[in-house]
Symmetry: C2
Subunit: 283 residues, 2 copies
C-alpha cells in the first residue's frame, strides 16, 4: 500500500520521517482515524473539524486546506476501489530547533495511510467486549484531552494492562475518581432507560462516534444525558457500551470480571449506527 507523505504518494516501506521530526521527539502532533466504507471516509468533516480545532489549540498550522486533504485522501483511496477499513491522518509539527519551543518549526509533516480493520465484523452475532479498569488516571478537565494528540502513553499503558488481563478494552478513571472513557473509545451506559455518557469537561476525547451516538439518540427520541459515573455504578447499571470510529457501537460484556446487564438499547444503537454508516458511505 502507498502512503501519502507531504504531498507525495510513496510505498509504505519508504514512508519515513526525520528522527528530528517533533512528532517522533515529543509526540508534537495530532491525528484522526476514520472508518472508510465503500471507499468513502465516514464523517470526514467532523474529523477534520476536530483536527483543525486541535491544530488551532497547539498553534500547529496544517499546511493544506481541508479540501486539499480531502482530495489527497480520495487519491489514496482510489488505489483500492471499494476500500473498507481505516484511514489515519497524522499532522506533526515537523523538524524545528532543538528543545520544546515550537519556534522555527514551520514545515509540518502530513501523513495519510490506510489500514485494514483489526477484526472482520462478526457475522450474525455482534461482539461484546470484556472491559478492564486501568490503574493510570487521566487528569480531570485536561484541555488537551478533547483532541486526538500524539501523546498517548496513558492510553498505551491502560491498553497494555487490559491485554495482560485478556480484556478487549481498558476503561480509564480521571483524577476525580470518575470513569471517563475507554483507551480508544468513549463510554456510554444505560440508566432508567436513558443513555448516559461522561461530560467532555471531565477531560475526555470529543469522539466523533460519541457525537454520532448522541445524534442517533436525538433522532430516535431516546433520552440521553451527560453525567459522571464510577466502576460500581457501571457494574450495577442496565448496560454499558462503547463508541469508536473503528467499530462503531460495541456492547460490553463484563467490567473487571463482573458480568454486566444486557440492555437492548446498545444493540439497537449499534444497528442504527451501521445503517447510518452504510447510508452515508453508500455506493
Amino acid at each position: 500500500m502507498r502512503v501519502f507523505l507531504n504531498g507525495r504518494f510513496v510505498p509504505e516501506e519508504q514512508a519515513s520521517v526525520s528522527v528530528f521530526d517533533r512528532g517522533f521527539l515529543y509526540g508534537d502532533g495530532l491525528f484522526e482515524t476514520m472508518r472508510v466504507l465503500h471507499g468513502h471516509p465516514f464523517r470526514w468533516e467532523q474529523h477534520l473539524d476536530r483536527l483543525e480545532r486541535g491544530a488551532h489549540f497547539l498553534r500547529l498550522p496544517v499546511p493544506y486546506l481541508p479540501e486539499q486533504l480531502r482530495q489527497f485522501a480520495s487519491q489514496l483511496l482510489s488505489e483500492h476501489p471499494g476500500f473498507d477499513g481505516l484511514l489515519r491522518l497524522t499532522v506533526s509539527r515537523g523538524v524545528g530547533r532543538r528543545g520544546y519551543s515550537p519556534a522555527g518549526a514551520d514545515h509540518p509533516t502530513v501523513v495519510m495511510a490506510l489500514h485494514p480493520l483489526a477484526v472482520a465484523p462478526a457475522s450474525g452475532r455482534a461482539p461484546r467486549w470484556k472491559l478492564r479498569a486501568a490503574s493510570i488516571r487521566l487528569p480531570a478537565g485536561e484541555p488537551l484531552a478533547q483532541f486526538k494528540t500524539c501523546n498517548k502513553l496513558a492510553q498505551i499503558l491502560a491498553r497494555a494492562e487490559a491485554d495482560a488481563a485478556e480484556a478487549d478494552e481498558a476503561l480509564l478513571l480521571n483524577t476525580d475518581g470518575f470513569v471517563v472513557e475507554g483507551a480508544t473509545s468513549n463510554l456510554f451506559w444505560v440508566e432508567d432507560g436513558r443513555i448516559c455518557t461522561p461530560p467532555l469537561a471531565s477531560g475526555i476525547l470529543a469522539g466523533v462516534t460519541r457525537s454520532v451516538v448522541m445524534e442517533l439518540c436525538r433522532s430516535q427520541g431516546i433520552p440521553a444525558m451527560e453525567q459522571n459515573t464510577t466502576i460500581k455504578d457501571l457494574q450495577a447499571c442496565q448496560g454499558v457500551f462503547l463508541s469508536l470510529s473503528s467499530y462503531g457501537v460495541v456492547a460490553a460484556d463484563s467490567l473487571d470480571g463482573v458480568g454486566l446487564c444486557q440492555s437492548e438499547l446498545p444493540l439497537k444503537l449499534a444497528e442504527l449506527y451501521e445503517e447510518l454508516l452504510r447510508n452515508e458511505c453508500g455506493k
Copy 2:
C-alpha cells in the same frame, strides 16, 4: 554530523524512522539529554538509570545493554574530538500493529544525536532568566512525569506561552495549584537560607541535574528540603533558580514580570556545578 540509528551511524539527513514508528504515532518512547564536555557525557550512569527505570515502567525493552549504548555514544563522540554540547538518546517502541496495544512491537528504535548548546555560555556574567507561569496544568502525582517520556505537549504549550511573553523559561503548576517545575528544568528557591525544591511526588521529572544540586547542597552543608510552593511565595522568597542538563544551574531574574530577590546561593551552586562538570569530564 552523523546520527546513531539502530546500530548504524548515518548522515543526519538520512536518519529517519518509519511513519508507523510508535514514537511518531503516539510519542511511545523515552529520551535523555546529556551535557557533554571535552567529549565526555556528564552523569551518563544517572541518565541511563532513569532511562532504564522508564523503560521498565513502559515495558519497553531497550535492545542494547548500558555498556553497548555507552560504546556507541563514545564512537559517535569520537567523530568530534573535544565535543562540547548535548547528546540526545531516544528509545521508541518502534513499529507494531495498529492501535495503542504495544503487543507485537518488539523492535524498539534507538537514536543518538549530538547537538550544539543553544547559546554559548555567557562569558563573565552568568545569565538570569525571566520566568513565566504557564496556563496549562500538570496532573498532580502523575507517575509518568518522573521519566523523560516522548509525550511533551504540555511542556511545548507552556514553552510557547513563555516565548510569546519573551520569557526564557515557563514554570508549570500542577492540578493542586502548586508550582512544580519548569518546562525543561527543575525548580529551586531559597527560603530562610535553605534550598527548597518541590517533592517528586508532586508529579515532576526526577531531574539528573536536580539530584546533582541536592548532592552539592549535602556536600557543602547547605540545608535543602522538599516542599510545595506557589507563585506568590516564589515572588516573595530570597531567590529562585532552575536546574537543567543543558545549562546546569541558572538563577531567575523575574517571575511573571515581578523582579525576584537575588541570593548568592544560586550563583554559588552554579559555580560548584560547573566545577563538578569540569572535574568529572576533565581531560
